[in-house]
Symmetry: C2
Subunit: 433 residues, 2 copies
């Protein structure tokens, strides 16, 4: 063996970054590995992309068939996105005995077991550092650096679009729609932002992390996921007044003494001094808690051309080291099995403190009625904000609760919303300490 | 091969943590590696320690000779500290063809080339994640996750003792001596705190990081190192007033267009919104900047029994994976060579903004005289704080400069300190943006 040949499928933003790094750091990798990491073939339907990249002597084509058919290609990089063609491509590459590097979170979250089992069967590996948190080494830290730990919880701000929007709403006192528009202008939100602001992208990443952490498949479609579209400027302002910040969190918690895993995605209020509260703009962070190491935070850019390409290339070097050392399966792909499905804790069973924003008609006894229903459901009140309103007859009543069971809370809210003084849907935001 | 045998030398705090993790996670590691990581022998001069630990069937002894002589031992963990016996032990273990895991930053910083060259010659490896930042995966992140990057700068708060003391001084308005006393009571400072508060421990860690990053030996003894003992409650208070926090920083910067590396340790003022300014108490952080990935921050506990043991055991698993896969030198130890000494940039050549606290006799024209000398030396003033003092005739004059050359600054200060209105040594703190 005189070189490690790589086939890249997808020469868009991230693929372009990968081509640039392989060109720039080629000598360094050759020194480290003892032989070159050679970009042998590149495929992209948009063949105009090749002209703008330092593709060297790589053979460029519109289709990926040549890459799959070339027996000298040992690693395939999948950067096409989506879950249809990408799935076929990845499975075919693995079946052909090629290692795969992918940044495709949707693919792994929705089809993980099939992919990892195919890799195992064929004695090859799937590396996916870039699928969660871009350039932050979340996968490597969990799988290698924290291997001595039972990881008890993960809390993560892992969608740059949502974090940028929420930061804008807070700093510039903007409504959601205007903050989204500015995020789109700044290149931090897609034209169709649904997967980001709806929480689905965070859900994909959290499903991957939970599967990795707990050695079984956490089904993306079963996760409770709430996005940020219902967060109002009013909520942001009250959060600030009460000493909190609102962030979209991905949460994974393993309860002591329970086999069910608490995995969820929703906006959460964090106390302002919480380390995650200071993660702003497009930055991401992953807060991991291990039984030995305590808390570790990783912070960085979770998306974008070069950060994501940096993660893809670190995977290439890892696989390259394995190939050179004839240890192609140094880290087995044996987590993530169909037959080890994880039981998810129902959202109704969680305990949390809550921020509740009721919108009521300003008339006597409203607060007493709300408090009574909460009390009947074993929910005690930590603080209340209600102010005189002069301009309109609809008044916000803000209540922060002590820890309560979600089922009790939902039951109480349903009862309160049946009362005639409620004029709009009640806002419920969980508080994370 | 049916097991990987480990010899542990040093069963104190961290060694005890390692024993506990190997016992607790034994089944998990056996599953991951396909064979057990077996603690075969433990040595400690204090043989009373063994009784309190889950040593299993490990053979315990006062001396380490049996570990070195046992041909079945494949990995030696050095946790004795110091640089005399530890150096002999590590070199002997490597010469005997055993891999070494160590948490000993002083040893690597002061004798790195000899150790890594011995490892290379004998085809074995030295793993040292625990030597820098305890449980934070700084070494792994630099060496593996950021392999696609030219790392341009590292700024790190890497000594928990100093950070605890500075946090106490700031939050509780304490003088240095009292904050040190409280740190000692809380177990965050040694009885002899010299190596911590003098900056030497930070220097050891920075020397290791710089050597690792730039593929040559950065000589610890050549580093400019200043500790925190001269930081006064007054400096802390002015820093806060001016929107800064004072932290002990380890700094590594590679200038574009210069082969000299800027490596130093000193207290620095950080703007309050800087991500490192929010790292408080005993926590550590490493802020890495790569050309592809941008900024990555690692944050966690840099010391203590279980965090450090977690890092030691992650190294054991890494080496175990290499042994199982017959790839004992998967990541070569070929950085850190005698023959690639790094040129250090002289402190006099750096550019920085400065906080200057002059102590002067309150008489006319003092500020004009100071400003004139600064101006003569190409140092321009960004802001000044001077207040009326009623209780005494010695007055502090605080000046924040625009960026200036350190040589010019030192020259100006020497001239100003020769003037008769100066009553005490001038405090100089560099500002890091």
């Amino acid at each position: 063996m005189s070189e490690i040949n790589i086939g890249l499928v997808g020469a868009g933003t991230i693929g372009g970054g990968v081509v640039k790094i392989l060109q720039k750091q080629g000598d360094f990798f050759r020194h480290k590995l003892g032989l070159p990491l050679r970009l042998a073939r590149i495929a992209d339907l948009n063949t105009k992309l090749f002209a703008g990249l330092p593709v060297g002597d790589a053979i460029c084509s519109a289709g990926a068939d040549d890459i799959l058919a070339d027996p000298t290609i040992q690693i395939v990089i999948e950067l096409v996105g989506g879950t249809t063609f990408a799935k076929k491509l990845v499975l075919a590459a693995l079946a052909a005995g090629k290692h795969v590097v992918t940044a495709n979170k949707a693919l792994l979250a929705e089809h993980g077991p099939e992919i990892f089992e195919t890799a195992e069967r064929n004695g090859v590996s799937v590396y996916f550092e870039a699928s969660v948190g871009g350039g932050m080494p979340a996968i490597k830290t969990i799988r290698e650096a924290m291997v001595a730990n039972d990881i008890r919880s993960v809390r993560t701000i892992i969608n740059g679009t949502c974090n940028y929007i929420l930061t804008k709403m807070q700093n510039d006192t903007l409504p959601f729609e205007e903050a989204l528009r500015q995020a789109q202008q700044a290149g931090f939100a897609e034209a169709d932002p649904t997967l980001d602001v709806g929480g689905g992208d965070t859900g994909h990443k959290v499903a991957i992390l939970a599967s990795l952490l707990f050695g079984g498949y956490v089904t993306y479609n079963a996760l409770p996921i709430e996005g940020i579209t219902s967060i109002s400027a009013e909520d942001i302002a009250y959060a600030r007044e009460l000493g909190y910040r609102i962030k979209l969190l991905g949460i994974i918690k393993a309860d002591e003494g329970s086999s069910a895993l608490d995995v969820r995605v929703h906006p959460a209020m964090l106390p302002v001094q919480h380390i995650l509260a200071s993660v702003s703009n497009e930055y991401n962070a992953v807060l991991l808690e291990g039984d030995a190491v305590g808390q570790i935070l990783l912070y960085g850019k979770g998306a974008g051309e070069m950060p994501t390409a940096s993660a893809v290339v670190s995977d290439l070097v890892d696989i390259g080291r394995n190939i050179v050392n004839k240890a192609p399966r140094r880290i087995p792909m044996d987590y993530y099995h169909h037959n080890r499905a994880i039981t998810l804790k129902p959202l109704a069973a969680i305990n949390s403190r809550y921020y509740l924003r009721f919108t009521v008609v300003d008339k006597p006894k409203v607060l007493a009625l709300i408090a009574a229903v909460l009390g009947d459901n074993a929910i005690s009140i930590a603080s209340v904000v209600q102010r005189e309103m002069h301009a309109q007859d609809r008044v916000p009543v803000i209540i922060i609760t002590h820890p309560a069971c979600e089922a009790d809370l939902q039951h109480a809210i349903a009862r309160i919303e049946g009362m005639d003084f409620i004029t709009s849907k009640t806002q419920i935001i969980r508080i994370e300490e």
